[in-house]
Amino acid sequence: MIEIRFHGRGGQGAVIAAELLAQAAFLDGKMPQSFPFFGVERRGAPVTAYARIDDKPIGLRTSIVAPDVVVVLDPGLLATTRVTDGIKPGGLLLVNTHRGPESLAAPPGVRRAVVDATRIALSHGLGTTMMPIVNTAVLGALARATGAVSLEGLTRAVEQFVPARPQDNRFAARDGYLGVRIEAASEAASGAAAAAPAAPARPRVLPEGPVASLSSEAIDTAAWRTFTPVIHLDRCTKCNFCWKFCPDDAIEFDDVGFPKIRLDYCKGCGICAAECPPKTIEMVATEI
């Protein structure tokens, strides 16, 4: 049995990815299952989904805590989510990024693979720059990197189950299959992969009880952000429009009254940049 865990954001297609993978495995004659982790599936929020594939029926119904494969649809999650938690030795980490596999932090013995699924998705017109739909390109890469499903099975699953633009999605899956870069097993085994530490766990001791007694400020929503507002203070007139219209109360003022983004909470909606009268706020793609 192979166990695969997907990390993505609401709206990006992680849940559909797990489902499509299972459909593809089924068309290959395997016995798959897939299901999402039920959390707050808001647009941009971190989302987890699972898939299992075996040659015989699977009795297990639990979420996956020790995956063979971890798939990350959004590289921004690497900085905020412990994606490789529980990954098995000899497992595989597949990330959507334009960088090389050596840029990824992974536990020793875990092989790293990358695919530039964002570029592939946009080249086929899937989604927008703010929110590219990368799942089919990532699944193509996964098919090649793991052999868990065949490209034929994946192609048929896309044709049967993707309601919008099946042809573009089929091409994206093929380009992902061809474009995936996998590090050799020998490099992974050497432990070179452990060079950079994984994202630290945010120490979070939240009291449990029948009444919610803690401010939601204990929860940081920075991981939702794909674009970050940068204020060019030299042109700021302190009009406060950015503060007034922020739906996340993520703007405060410094000692002299200039606005300041509370980066732990900003979800990157872009309202402040759009509403700033002198256009001093710029939305910058979050560099990974």
């Binding site: 302190k238 739906p247 109360d249």
Partner: protein, 316 residues
């Protein structure tokens, strides 16, 4: 620091679970700024149930009663009775429900609360569909709009029915105060919240809450789109105090509705004749509003005019 045009106090905390660019989140933030900390909210099933309480935290600096979908109106009648029994005189009792929980599922409870003349504020934040469950049409979804239950493929026209006139339904109950509010006009919004806060009797606030995923527009455009909703006449801003209507934003001439409609994916399928049909309806509603405003004004100017019955009752 430049002078703030709306209250500085923050009673909605960040870290909440609303989508980026959420109009309903901004509506709550602005509402609590105007109401202050002595407020008890009753929230039924809606987006805000999920937004407010990522367990074990709360994004709201006021007390919250998690009420049943159909019961917001009844629950605030009960909360007010409880506050009275405890001798709490300075609390705002506020129901905060979505359009589904107001125009459809909670309509009888709202009507009952208005009929009982409960001294409370009922807020409908209107994102024009059941957004929390994934964009199903509600009674407040506008004509022609796409939702998952009013498809636009295979010749389906989007929502075939007109948007329910909630202000009309509420005004037929003669509330002490009723107003339409739009977060894009934050100062007008705060003035109305503060006005509602200081009036005794049943009060109703209809807040427009643009929804980027449900209406299909870029989250950065929430404020700009809200502004267009009012300046095209789709969502006119007005208030009715003791039966007297006043339009609170007039811009000389309305912008064409096409500017508002074409900015949203949910209206992308509309044909020019559909847009013209909407334009005709919007113009007629706008003229009606202005006519009623003129009539109310001239009646108020006539010394012999009897005071509307609800004005005296509302003081109770």
């Amino acid at each position: 620091m430049a002078k703030l045009t709306i209250p500085a106090q923050e009673l909605m905390y960040p870290g909440h679970a609303a989508c980026p660019g959420c109009g309903a989140a901004l509506a709550m933030r602005l509402l609590l700024k105007g109401l202050g900390p002595r407020t008890i909210l009753s929230i039924p099933a809606c987006c805000w149930t999920v937004i407010a309480t990522p367990y074990p935290t709360t994004a709201l600096g006021v007390a919250v009663l998690d009420s049943a979908f159909e019961a917001t109106g009844a629950s605030i009648s009960g909360l007010r009775a409880g506050a009275d029994a405890l001798g709490l005189k300075d609390v705002n009792i506020v129901g905060f429900a979505g359009d589904g929980g107001t125009a459809d599922i909670g309509l009888q409870a709202l009507s009952g609360m208005l009929e009982r003349r409960t001294n409370a504020i009922y807020v409908m934040y209107d994102n024009e569909a059941y957004m929390n469950t994934g964009i199903q049409r509600s009674g407040a979804t506008p004509w022609g709009a796409w939702t998952t239950t009013t498809p636009t493929v295979h010749g389906h026209p989007g929502k075939p029915e007109l948007k329910k006139d909630m202000m009309g339904i509420v005004l037929a109950h003669r509330p002490a105060y009723a107003a339409t509010l739009n977060p894009s006009f934050a100062e007008d919004f705060e003035r109305k919240v503060e006005r509602a806060r200081d009036i005794v009797g049943p009060r109703f606030l209809h807040i427009l809450a643009p929804c980027p995923p449900g209406w299909k527009f870029d989250s950065a455009q929430t404020i700009a789109l809200g502004r267009l909703a009012t300046d095209t006449g789709i969502f006119p801003l007005y208030e009715v105090v003791e039966g007297r209507l006043r339009v609170t934003r007039k811009t000389g001439s309305l912008k064409p509705v096409s500017e508002y409609l074409t900015a949203q994916g949910r209206f992308r399928h509309l044909k020019p004749e559909d847009i013209e049909r909407i334009q005709v309806g919007v113009r007629a509603t706008w003229e009606e509003l202005l006519k009623r405003e003129r009539e109310d004004l001239s009646r108020a100017m006539t010394p012999s005019a009897p005071a509307p019955a609800e004005a005296t009752l509302a003081a109770k």
